[in-house]
Amino acid sequence: MTRVHDMGGRFGDGPVIPDAQDAPVFHEEWHARALAVTLAAGALGQWNLDISRHARERLAPTDYARFSYYEKWIAALADLLVDRGVLTREDLSGVAPEGPHPLAARALRAEAVPGVLALGGPTERDGGPAPRFVPGDAVRTLRPAANRRVAGGHTRLPAYAAGARGAFCRATARMSSPTPTPTIWERRPSRFTPWSSPRPSSGRMPRTRATR
């Protein structure tokens, strides 16, 4: 089994409600603050892309279902801050100690924002083995979809695409993948498994997803 976030192909959801092309970027002020505080806290350097995704994916299924998008962000951020030892539960309860935190020197300053956002966090890795497939190769995605090296139902191969047959269409970059250790999920060069995707075909349900 994978986690609650793996909802591609699920039945039972209602219609998609499009918005106007000129709808506000943030519908509520707190949405904007939630995004900004999450990005700013990320700049403290205490977690990476995989850790932050993991934090959202492992919200309790009931929470994941009832939380709006930015509620998920802020709940995951609170969990991350505690898990990574930046804050304590007591801090979150409002009995935080006074005075600067040991990580305060790493806080993102306003003047650094454009540079940090422009820098991004590329996940491409140098080296590693050559792609195992060339375009047109017949491939089959793994089943079950769960990542074999990460416990608890994490996956980067959605369940709807597990076990699917298709044709390899394109190798992109060599990306790192999450590898758990007792204390941190690190980005490491891993066995490189490039794109393996069912070839899109008319009227079917094509998809592209890297198997890991």
Partner: protein, 214 residues
């Protein structure tokens, strides 16, 4: 004696055991509390938050992607390079950055329509399109785009010509997609600025088509 289960499931906080349960339940208050705690400890600079919000409200948005599409319409050599290595090409236009470190551009053609989703999360090419719209992040879109894309398109008012294939690209945290829609007829000789004005956000996600020239 039988247990009385009355009310046990009412107002139950399912996030018990998670650290976030220590924050107020109301979302706006929850964000405010966390921001205040982080600010008090010097971990967050409120001016930096303002700068981040300004960036995504006013500086980075679909107007960036529209410039890429318009140039691809106007310049065949650019289009070829874009489809070959979009990350490098859009970086050359200054559209590189957070949540868009690796980008693939997929081109619509007569007979093929592309559409982008992120079923596992809400991954989206931020430097090209900004922050994703609410519907892109909705359960309904994430669940249904890969199962019944034509029905989803119909909910956006898009009906494709008979026989058109739909390709759905499921984003990963690393790889983000931008749809290159077809250039509308009747735009021969238009410059890039004029073309860019026809490029809608949804046409670059694949849930819409470019605006027809007036």
């Amino acid at each position: 004696m039988p247990h009385d289960h009355h009310d046990h499931d009412h107002d139950h906080h399912h996030d018990d055991g998670h650290a976030h349960a220590h924050l107020p339940p109301d979302p706006a208050l929850r964000v405010k509390a966390l921001e205040s705690i982080l600010t008090a400890r010097g971990l967050v600079d409120p001016a930096a938050l303002d700068a981040i919000i300004d960036t995504y409200e006013n500086r980075i948005g679909p107007q960036n992607g529209a410039k890429v599409v318009a140039r691809a319409w106007a310049d065949p050599g650019f289009r070829t390079a874009l489809l070959e290595d979009a990350t490098a090409v859009v970086a050359g236009m200054g559209f590189y950055g957070r949540q868009g470190e690796h980008v693939t551009v997929v081109a619509n053609s007569a007979g093929t329509h592309n559409m982008v989703v992120c079923t596992l999360c809400s991954c989206y090419p931020w430097p090209l399109l900004g922050i994703p719209p609410a519907w892109y992040k909705s359960d309904a879109y994430r669940a249904r785009a890969v199962r019944e894309p034509r029905r989803v398109l119909a909910e956006f008012g898009v009906t494709l010509p008979e026989g058109t294939a739909v390709r759905v690209w499921d984003s990963t945290a690393e790889m983000r997609y931008l749809v290159l829609p077809e250039r509308p007829a009747g735009t021969e000789g238009w410059d890039e600025d004029r073309l860019a004005a026809l490029v809608t956000r949804d046409s670059m996600i694949g849930t819409g088509l470019p605006t027809a020239p007036a």
